[in-house]
């Protein structure tokens, strides 16, 4: 059953999420093709971050199904019933994704290089030399060659977020998830992080990006999703959708942020 090869890298079917009485996601469908850069926008509390966190099971879903590369996430389905996977099976599934958080979440007690090496070394079980070589290569890629020995507290916000991107990439994920990666940054540091993400997008890796940067969505995205009140209101190609939104709620939101 898991062997079905899907053309979609991420496929979310009819996702519902309740926080107690709050209905945060109301039947969301999302399909992201391989190599696609999917950008989710919408007002605060629209559920876009929650949706992103459902992809790598940081949030449990109340109803629906999440597939990564055709594989059902978090459960096995037998005789019409869902059976929860074990924590180590869930950990294994999470290796398909890499995540970048709004507040970086680098491990403060490790140097930048150790942060990047942590996954390959202690999750993938690589040798120290191989992990270090990979980490050095990634630090170079995010423009932080020579900063490996610094602790996160000695780096600027933009540098920390670039290390966080390198840390996620070190696991060689199929999908990169970005949860408002520039929202906690000083304005002058936003550019350096967006440049790294743009660079990644051009390399062909599948990405889902939750952001408030409409300019980024237009320039880099090839699939734009507008969410409001726990639902996908409109989706399409960024350039056409940003130029002429079909739904009045999309238009109202865009008129405020553009």
């Amino acid at each position: 059953m898991n062997a079905i090869v899907s053309e979609f890298c991420v496929e979310m079917q009819n996702i519902h999420k309740y926080y107690g009485p709050v209905h945060a996601l109301k039947g969301v469908d999302l399909r992201v093709k391989r190599g696609e850069v999917c950008v989710a926008i919408g007002p605060s509390g629209s559920g876009k971050s929650t949706l992103l966190r459902c992809i790598n099971q940081l949030e449990s879903i109340s109803a629906g199904r999440v597939f990564l590369k055709g594989e059902l996430q978090g459960f096995t389905e037998r005789n019409g019933r869902f059976h929860q996977l074990s924590l180590s099976q869930i950990a294994a599934q999470r290796r398909l994704t890499g995540m970048v958080f709004q507040r970086f979440q680098l491990f403060p007690h490790m140097t930048a290089l150790d942060n990047v090496m942590e996954g390959p070394l202690h999750v993938k079980g690589w040798s120290k030399e191989r992990a270090r070589a990979k980490a050095n290569e990634l630090m170079k890629r995010v423009g932080l060659d020579g900063f490996g020995n610094r602790y996160p507290g000695q780096l600027s916000g933009g540098q920390q977020q670039r290390v966080a991107i390198a840390r996620a990439l070190a696991m060689e994920p199929e999908v990169m998830l970005f949860d408002e990666p520039t929202s906690a940054l000083d304005p002058e540091l936003v550019g350096e992080v967006l440049d790294v993400i743009k660079d990644l997008a051009q390399s062909g890796i599948t990405m889902v990006v939750v952001t408030h940067e409409i300019g980024f969505a237009r320039e880099v995205g090839n699939h734009l999703v507008f969410m409001d009140q726990g639902q996908v209101i409109e989706e399409g190609h960024p350039r056409t959708m940003l130029a002429s939104p079909k739904n009045p709620r999309t238009a109202a939101f865009l008129s405020k942020v553009l």
């Binding site: 790598n56 995540m99 602790y151």
Partner: protein, 303 residues
Amino acid sequence: MASNIESMEAGSQPVSTRTRDVTHNVVAPRRHPGRWLAIAVLAIVVLQIGQAISTNPNFHWDVYLKYLFAPQVVRGVGWTLLLTVIAMAVAIVVAGLLVIMRDSDNPVLRGLAYSWVWFFRGTPIYTQLLFWGLFAVLFPKLSIAIPFGPEVISVETKYIVTPAIAAILGLGFNESAYLTEIFRAGFNSIDRGQAEAAQALGMKPPKIWWRILMPQAMRVIIPPTGNEAIGMLKMTSLVLAIPFTLDLTFATNAISNRLYLPIPLLLVAGTWYLAITSLLMVGQHFLERHFGKGVSVHPARAE
């Protein structure tokens, strides 16, 4: 100068090379006459107290010196140190388990951990030690048996729960209740996003605890735990309740009862407790420095 800057790696700040161009302000140091006055007054007071103590025959300094390194006393120091270290180790292991149990999804484990803390924190240590001493009386035999069926193995309790074991378990279990609360505070002080970041890397829970959460919690845990270790050092004098008769306080009390001279032997005990406490403080300093990596106010330059 220019070549100096060029030769540096991209991004490092060329600050130190510039300072040569700056003419520093000439700052005259402030005078502190009040401090000198205070030092003079204190010196006189200290000298007077020193004289009063050292020349007072009631302190029996000759007896103090004679017994400071007496074999019973040194053996007592050894036992006190041993009890402190082992009981603390027991407490740390038990508290580590309890804190994980309290965080667990399993309601039985959570309840068990909660009850343990409730019981050992809620009863006096002296009472607990008395009960540990009476353990062999209450349960003369320890046996593994099939319930209501035949015994498999049976041992006399007094061979297992010796006074030393009773002291270690009594002190250790009591301490574990307090340490659990300290550990919990340490783990609660960490941003929840840290565990999420580790999960997102695909780490399994034991690794997340060990590699991500524990080292960060340590920074918060160590200062109060150092306090507890020093408290434990002095709490070992209560093992008389078991009775365990080899520790430092018991040894010095025994000598003073024989000589009818309590003061010099109290001073002997006090000196040793102070010495061991100082030793523990040095250890704490190095632990704090180790776990303060990356977050200390004065970051150790890694370059």
